[in-house]
């Protein structure tokens, strides 16, 4: 086996792993793990109504921001 095969496998696996790592870092930074209970409970409230609520919330935020030129976070 040529050494370039090992090099390729290694770089691909490190690349794939780092995607997962970056996703984790992003989630920590966004504060998704700050409230461990809510994170678990989110599974309970994910039907249509909640999705609509979330969309409404997002829209309200945008509208309010537009008025004040506010960029969320």
């Amino acid at each position: 086996m040529d050494s370039w095969v090992i090099g390729m496998m290694m770089s691909v696996s490190i690349f794939l792993g780092s995607i997962a790592l970056v996703a984790l870092l992003w989630a920590i930074k966004k504060g998704q793990f700050d409230d461990e209970e809510k994170f678990l409970n989110a599974a309970l409230y994910d039907d249509e109504n909640e999705l609509n609520d979330a969309a409404k919330k997002e829209k309200k935020r945008k509208d309010a921001s537009k008025k004040k030129e506010y960029i969320p976070e």
């Binding site: 050494s3 370039w4 090992i6 090099g7 290694m10 770089s11 696996s13 490190i14 792993g17 780092s18 790592l21 984790l24 870092l25 920590i28 930074k29 793990f33 700050d34 409230d35 461990e36 209970e37 809510k38 409970n41 309970l44 409230y45 109504n49 609520d53 409404k56 919330k57 309200k60 935020r61 309010a64 921001s65 008025k67 004040k68 030129e69 506010y70 960029i71 969320p72």
Partner: protein, 798 residues
């Protein structure tokens, strides 16, 4: 009763007769009914489906006027302006029981006009609300939270807490990167080591080295950044610390390994770079994790004080915020309320519980002209008093600011490992320099001298040294927590092991904190149900103690007439036309019975129809295991001192019962703290154990503060160690565990030093074979970890 039904809002069960019926729904009170209708009208009634019958607090609370929240003073203190003109406030929401509560609050708030964003944390009930002040006032938002059955009060999301959280998050990120890289590195290492023994082509080794290089780079420069920062600050103050050694060691190893990789000679050590950084970083994180935030403590403290009081203005009673009260205002206090401002009693009399300030177990009787102190609780007094100090200068607020001071200036004893690493690091760096110069003169070969000098630093792997403390303390902490002893910070084990004085509070710490009947004298046989019916009407600790003493299942309550609580004397009532009386000698005298009081203990007399029937003596007894534990602690060479706010007499008695010769009585909270400071000046390391608000200043100024598990919230917050099972023997255990752990730390440090003494001369001489370097690096760490496990010996079956 079989016809109990649930309230449709709070789900508590009550008898059907008392429930309010409303179109097929049942409610326990108007409050619950109101909330239920509000939720239905707003279309939020799916809350009940989500809550699935979780029991809530019934909506009975009366709230102060929410307009306080719109006051400019409130805005200055708690409301932040965001960059784009919105307002933001941090609140603690009271009454959150389940995820549905969070859902309800968020939904109700976001449905309001002007509320831009809400974020409620279920775990700690803290909420952040962003709103547009031009559209809706904060008081309206608070009203909404209250209307749906919760309460909100602001907290100062001060810098300290924010900083602590951010620091923790920063560590998470760095550790995530380090662990990811280390794990991947290990798989490559397997190939490297296998190749070392069974042969490997130069090409493949080169590729593997480059892979390691890629992986170790973010670990060193991102995860290891705190060490470089630490080194920088160390250099600025001209001190060499562990950070210096870790940073220089790993950086030089990294550079050396790059050199090896590029020139394809010898072995690269990228793996040690990642290992050192990861291990030491995790050790650092463990220590940072448990650092408590002073901000939270002060939040709890101010929560204990009422935020509004009833004031008489022009013969009318008005509720006002404590900050608006001026000196000379007339304030009303009714039974069961806590006093917020200092003052002087004008009208009425009654007993006050001052135990939170003085530790004195007996209620204190106050009449016109006596001073009223903030932080105390009225037991049975309905009084009017004139304030003599404003809120900011009242006793309790003073204690809060003193506490803040004491916590910020808490003595820090430099830890052994830190002290040692300072010498160790400078010695190693010096040795490396000497090695380089020596080799250069000897061989005049720059490359070889440089590599040898680096190998000295690499082999003096600070890994074992850095791990010596965290691993041992971790094992110590886990044993302690199994025994119900909670150390809040790892470094406290070491400080506690060095303590030579134990200061104890009396009430609630050495004693059980409530009087007990120690002597009973029945002068004439009587129906105990009579005494029981009389005393079950009183909340006085002595009455409670007598009730629990005489209680058995056959007792029943008689119908008594004209029941009267006489402050600081006792209780009287009429039964069958004759007078029942229970109280102290003073009460007996007023009803015409002459009794001799000679005992040092509190006395309780019981009379029926002007005839004395029984006498009880009560005393706040020391905890059962106190004597034994104090003897054992003394045997360890620790001086035991008792500090109490109580009278000399009772202090003397308790001290002699548990075998304490050294005690100070009648101390105010400040005096207790001063006493501890005095001990510090004499270079003592002081452990203080206490339970009440009167101890917190002393607790905050001691080196190690221990709180009993049933102590007040604030005492537990201030403390470094909490004894969850509330026994005295665990106090002894905590000393034992900390001393044992400290012994292990010393052994660990010794081991890593011995290891270095063997390998460093070899490295200086240039004899370090790569394999030995690699093996001994892991071996030294393993030795330290293995040795730490020995703390567990002797604690197995307990």
């Amino acid at each position: 009763m079989s016809d109990k039904i649930e309230c449709d809002h709070c789900h508590l069960e009550f008898s059907k007769d008392v429930m309010i019926e409303d179109e097929g729904h049942y409610f326990c009170c108007n409050g619950c009914q109101g909330v239920f209708h509000l939720l239905s009208d707003e279309g939020l009634d799916s809350f009940y489906k989500k809550a699935k019958g979780v029991k809530l607090d019934p909506q009975t609370q009366q709230f102060e006027d929410s307009s306080n929240f719109d006051a400019p003073a409130f805005y200055d203190k708690f409301v932040k302006r965001t960059d784009d003109g919105f307002s933001e406030v941090s609140l603690i929401i009271e009454g959150i029981h389940c995820a549905a509560c969070v859902w309800l609050n968020e939904k109700a708030l976001i449905n309001m006009d002007g509320v831009v964003a809400t974020n409620i944390n279920y775990t700690n009930n803290k909420a952040k609300i962003v709103w547009d002040n031009d559209v809706v006032a904060l008081s309206k938002i608070i009203d909404m939270i209250r209307a749906i059955g919760y309460n909100a009060y602001p907290y100062d999301a001060s810098l300290q807490e924010l900083k602590a959280n951010e620091e923790r998050k920063d560590y998470y990120l760095r550790i995530a990167v380090a662990v990811f890289a280390t794990m991947n590195m290990m798989t490559i290492m397997v190939a490297q080591y296998a190749g070392y023994f069974s042969g490997i082509t130069e090409d493949i080794k080169h590729i593997l080295n480059i892979g390691e290089w890629v992986l170790s780079t973010p670990v060193l420069f991102y995860s290891g950044w705190p060490f470089f920062k630490g080194m920088y600050y160390g250099l600025k103050t001209k001190t060499v610390n562990m950070d210096t050694l870790v940073a220089t060691g790993s950086l030089l190893t990294y550079i050396y390994s790059i050199y090896i990789t590029l020139t394809r000679t010898g072995e690269a050590y990228f793996d040690s770079v990642t290992m050192i950084v990861t291990f030491v970083l995790v050790g650092k994180f463990l220590e940072a994790l448990s650092k408590k935030s002073i901000a939270d403590t002060l939040d709890i403290m101010s929560k204990n004080l009422p935020s509004d009081v009833k004031v008489v203005v022009n013969n009318e009673v008005v509720t006002k915020n404590v900050n608006d009260i001026l000196i000379g205002d007339i304030v009303l206090i009714s039974a069961g309320e806590r006093v917020a401002l200092d003052g002087e009693l004008l009208e009425g009399n009654g007993t006050f519980d001052e135990s939170s300030l003085t530790g004195e177990s007996e209620p204190i009787y106050k009449s016109v002209g006596d001073s009223i102190i903030s932080g105390t609780v009225s037991i049975d007094a309905d009084i009017k008093y004139k304030t003599t100090k404003d809120y900011a200068h009242s006793t309790m607020s003073n204690i809060v600011s003193l506490l803040e001071n004491a916590m910020n200036n808490k003595p820090k004893i430099q830890q052994l490992a830190n002290k040692l690493s300072e010498y160790f690091s400078s010695t190693i760096l010096l040795l490396a320099a000497i090695t380089f110069v020596g080799w250069y003169f000897y061989s005049s070969n720059f490359e070889q001298s440089f590599i040898t000098a680096i190998s000295v630093i690499v082999i003096a792997c600070p890994c074992a040294l850095a791990l010596a403390t965290p691993v041992a303390t971790l094992v110590g902490l886990s044993i302690a927590s199994k025994k119900g002893i909670l150390f809040k910070e790892a470094s406290q084990l070491e400080t506690m092991a060095n303590a030579n004085i134990l200061a104890l509070d009396k009430t609630g710490t050495i004693t059980q904190g409530r009087p007990q009947v120690v002597n009973e004298k029945v002068l004439e046989k009587f129906d105990t149900s009579l005494l029981y019916s009389l005393l079950s009407n009183s909340k006085h600790p002595i009455a409670k103690a007598v009730v629990s003493h005489i209680y058995d299942e056959n007792l029943h309550c008689f119908e008594l007439e004209s029941l009267k609580n006489i402050p600081s004397q006792g209780i009287t009532a009429m039964y069958n036309g004759k007078m029942l009386a229970g109280g102290n000698a003073k009460l007996m005298k007023t009803i015409g019975i002459d009794v001799e009081s000679s005992s040092k203990n509190s006395e309780f007399y019981f009379a029926y129809g002007e005839k004395l029937l029984a006498k009880f003596e009560l005393f706040d007894m020391p905890r059962e295991d106190a004597i034994e534990a104090i003897v054992k602690i003394k045997k360890m060479g620790i001086d035991v001192i008792m500090l109490t706010g109580d009278h000399k007499q009772s202090a003397q008695k308790v001290a002699s019962l548990v075998g304490i010769t050294n005690f100070e009585a009648e101390l105010s909270p400040e005096q207790k703290a001063n006493y501890i400071d005095k001990l510090h000046e004499e270079k003592n390391v002081v452990v203080m154990a206490g339970d009440g608000v009167n101890d917190i200043l002393a607790l905050a100024s001691s080196d190690i503060a221990i709180a009993m598990g049933n102590g007040s919230d604030i005492a537990i917050e201030v403390s470094d160690v909490v004894l969850l099972n509330d026994t005295f023997s665990s106090l002894y255990d905590s000393f034992k565990i900390s001393q044992r752990t400290f012994k292990m730390i010393k052994q660990n440090l010794g081991l890593s030093l011995v290891y270095n003494m063997v390998t460093i001369p070899l490295a200086i001489a240039g004899y370090i074979i790569p394999l030995i370097a690699a093996i001994s690096m892991s071996l030294s760490s393993l030795l330290v970890v293995g040795n730490s496990m020995r703390i567990k010996l002797g604690y197995k079956d307990k």
